[in-house]
């Protein structure tokens, strides 16, 4: 198992290296210079490009950038002068992660629980309600939901703050205030996750409950609860786990919008601005963060496979 993990981390590093390469090359295709501005003259642009080495041939730039990355130096932003990319990204990561992680937690727990309930009480009112909720959940885009929640819960009822408030003891904002202001962004992000996990869980569990080994287990005299917990849930979880990985990414994409609604100072605006303004190193830095997040999630999911389903032999583990 340990060997397998080591091997996978090796793959991960190769993947990250390739991601950076692909992104680097793709970004070269974007027309326009990061130093373009209404009042910048051609000469100034050339001077700035020389200063940041953008006039060198692309292979030279690439090798220089990669060398930097290996040493942990992600370069500086062209637009936000004198700010290091790693500083800019690291400052914002916690704000993107807090609502995202909370949303994932809520989404996975609620989604799997309700999906399982729907499958066990198939065709009951509970099943129908859950189905309708899950259908509605995927039907309403998260920004519409966020707009509604903000309008009714914050503006009309005044139960929760309109805007995300980072903890700031000087200005009298406590951790509790911060948590309160995180509730709505997290729920807005979690609803699509809940909805799709509920559906997957329901359909998988129904499928498993119809298999022969479940019938056999029941025939042996196990109770329904025992069968579900010992036999069915595990098998149903395998495909469900597969979709959690992409969901992390979809939460991240969703946060692009949600962060703007609730004023969460996360990566979204930084990323949109950096890509549209062709701030290459910053874009690469942010893309690298997303890539790390993604491959780590995939690794954890693959490891979870092995834990949940011993039939799936992880290559390397058996050797």
């Amino acid at each position: 198992m340990f060997k397998y993990i080591l091997k996978r981390i090796g793959y991960m590093i190769i993947t990250l290296f390739l991601v950076l390469t692909v992104n680097f090359l793709l970004l070269q295709l974007i027309p326009g210079s990061p130093f373009d501005g209404e009042k910048v003259t051609e000469a100034q642009k050339i001077i700035l490009e020389q200063k940041y080495g953008l006039d060198d041939p692309i292979p030279v730039q690439y090798i220089r950038y990669m060398k930097g990355v290996v040493q942990g130096d992600f370069g500086v932003s062209f637009k936000l002068q004198n700010q290091e990319v790693s500083d800019l990204v690291l400052t914002r990561i916690p704000y993107t992660i807090k609502p995202g992680a909370l949303a994932l937690l809520i989404g996975v727990v609620v989604g799997i629980l309700f999906g399982a309930i729907a499958a066990m009480k198939r065709n009951s009112w509970a099943d129908h309600t859950i189905t309708i909720i899950s259908v509605l959940g995927v039907s309403i885009p998260s920004f519409v939901l966020a707009a509604f929640l903000q309008y009714f819960i914050c503006s009309k009822l005044g139960w929760l703050p309109l805007l995300y408030q980072p903890k700031d003891t000087v200005r009298g904002i406590s951790a509790m205030d911060e948590f309160k202001s995180l509730i709505l962004p997290s729920i807005s992000l979690a609803v699509p996750v809940i909805a799709s996990l509920m559906r997957y869980m329901r359909s998988e569990l129904i499928e498993v409950l119809n298999t022969d080994y479940i019938l056999l287990a029941r025939a042996k005299g196990l109770t329904r609860t025992q069968v579900i917990f010992h036999h069915a849930l595990r098998n149903a979880l395998i495909p469900v786990i597969t979709v959690v990985g992409p969901m992390v990414v979809s939460i991240m994409t969703g946060s692009l919008v949600i962060e703007q609604f609730f004023g969460v100072p996360g990566l979204s605006k930084l990323m949109l601005n950096s890509v549209t303004m062709n701030d290459q190193f910053l874009t690469l830095g942010i893309a690298f963060f997303y890539a790390v997040l993604y491959v780590v999630v995939i690794l954890v999911i693959d490891l979870l496979y092995g834990v949940i389903d011993p039939r799936i032999r992880l290559t390397g583990g058996a050797k």
């Binding site: 992104n23 995927v138 920004f143 799709s196 992409p246 994409t253 692009l256 919008v257 949109l272």
Partner: protein, 479 residues
């Protein structure tokens, strides 16, 4: 013991008919016929299916009853109607056609779709307005207040009082006000507070609804306004209203429904064709080098943020579109170009989740006994993949496909929201929604109309696919 004598005729042998022993009495059904039979039994799925069909048909037919230009031509989704004011004989200015709420003949008597909306505004806007002639607005300074009030022909300056309550309608409207700094109240006919320059000078065009005072000490009014009366276009009916450019939302909506459905189906086809092929190959060779390489490729692609891909794609769209044009020897309009870029960019990462699920299913299935049996009997790899394994994952794929249509539509909506989707004045449910959401507080119908149809569409597709799943799953056959 009583003995009974049996009638020997009861024990006569039936003559044997060779070959008919196992005759099936009902007609033989193929897999798809059987699925269809079971789908028809599912009420919710059937209704949903008709609902989807209805929406598709409507999206083509409904625009035919939309508004027309004065010359009888149909108003397109990106046109403001060109109409003549019968009183003046001149063209109606575009500003009089913008932000008209939904209004439907007949229904308006029931108090819905009657062209009214509740607007938040200041006392100043209601009674004085922003379209003052220059010589009057020049007087709007603290020093010339008395002259200003006189020029407006009102009793008090709207900033000098707060509205306490009101009664009556139209010409009979009476408003109870409290002057600032005074504790007593005063009843004033609305006509004495209303200046002739106001957009609401016609007292029939509005009703007071609510007042609220904020922490800065300023009173805001909520006023129920009939925009058609207020703008003098009472003879017009826009079923779903108009937006700020005077574009008819009805026409835009149905165009948007068509576009969104097209986006959903196209990305479904692309994602699933790619995803199934890729996932099947990777899954079948699971654990080998091929699988590993293939999965790393999906990881790399999946970890590039969609926004990055979209922006890069829209930046290189010129050569890309030219390539397509040369390849198929066609000419693409700008609109079609934007559409193709969007679809391709969305599909670039969309197929990955399909491929991963297909692969996971194959990993689960391929070591099972029936596969071993097929292998032993000499079946080729493609045969095993598509004949033996594939039917087993169809249920799962239908569930995924269900999600892929709504999620493609939702992704498009999200991209519109961050300014990377289809550009206005093009129309899709996403474009309409993101535009409507930004105006939700002032013009709620601009959001409610697309939101309703989006939810309707999603609900219908999802319920239909739910039924389809139950109908298609081979293990539920004969249930």
């Amino acid at each position: 013991m009583i003995s009974k004598k049996f009638d020997p005729s009861l024990f006569e042998l039936e003559p044997t008919h060779h070959g008919q022993g196992d005759e099936i009495k009902t007609e033989s059904l193929t897999f798809w016929q059987d699925a269809w039979r079971r789908l028809r039994k599912n009420k919710a799925a059937l209704i949903s299916m008709y609902a989807i069909l209805l929406l598709v048909i409507c999206s083509f037919l409904a625009p035919l009853v939309g508004p027309k230009h004065e010359n009888g031509e149909r108003v397109k989704y990106n046109q403001t109607p060109i109409l003549i004011d019968t009183e003046t004989g001149k063209q109606i200015e575009k500003s009089r056609l913008s932000y008209l709420p939904p209004r439907v003949k007949g229904l308006e008597k029931l108090g819905i779709f009657d062209g009214t909306s509740t607007k938040k505004m200041t006392t100043f806007e209601l009674f004085v307005g922003s379209s003052l002639p220059d010589e009057v607005s020049a007087l709007n300074t603290p020093l010339k207040k008395a002259e200003f009030v006189k020029a407006l022909g009102v009793k008090y300056h709207p900033n000098d009082y707060e509205i306490i309550s009101w009664s009556g309608k139209g010409e009979d409207m009476k408003i109870t006000i409290q002057l600032r700094g005074s504790s007593s109240t005063e009843d004033v006919p609305a006509s004495e507070l209303m200046s002739k320059y106001s957009d609401y000078a016609n007292l029939d065009s509005f009703e007071l609804d609510q007042t609220e005072t904020d922490n800065q000490g300023i009173q805001m009014l909520k006023v129920k306004v009939n925009a058609y009366v207020q703008k003098g276009v009472e003879h017009l009916y826009f079923y779903f209203g108009t937006d700020e450019l005077g574009f008819d939302v009805w026409t835009r909506l149905w165009t948007g429904v068509q576009v969104s459905l097209l986006i959903g189906f196209l990305s479904l086809i692309i994602d699933f064709t790619l995803g199934i092929l890729y996932g099947s190959i990777a899954g079948f060779y699971g654990g080998t080098v091929i699988d590993n390489v293939m999965m790393r490729i999906t990881e790399i692609l999946g970890s590039i943020p969609t926004t990055v891909i979209l922006i890069i794609f829209s930046s290189v769209k010129k050569p890309f579109i030219q390539g397509i044009e040369n390849l198929f020897n066609i000419h693409l309009s700008n609109v079609a170009g934007a559409f193709i870029i969007l679809i391709v960019a969305m599909s670039l990462t969309g197929w990955i989740s399909v491929a991963r699920v297909v692969r996971a299913q194959y990993l689960k299935l391929k070591d099972q006994e029936f596969v071993m049996a097929a292998t032993t009997l000499g079946a080729s790899s493609p045969r095993i993949i598509f004949k033996h394994l594939f039917p087993n994952i169809i249920g799962q794929l239908v569930v995924m496909a269900t999600f892929s249509i709504p999620s493609a539509i939702a992704t498009e909506a999200m991209l519109s929201f961050i300014g990377l989707g289809l550009p206005i004045p093009m129309s899709s449910l996403g474009v309409l929604l993101s535009d409507g959401t930004s105006k939700m507080l002032s013009y709620v119908y601009l959001m409610m109309v697309p939101a309703f149809f989006m939810v309707y569409l999603m609900l219908a597709i999802n319920l239909f696919a739910n039924g389809l799943r139950d109908a298609l799953d081979p293990r539920l056959r004969g249930e």
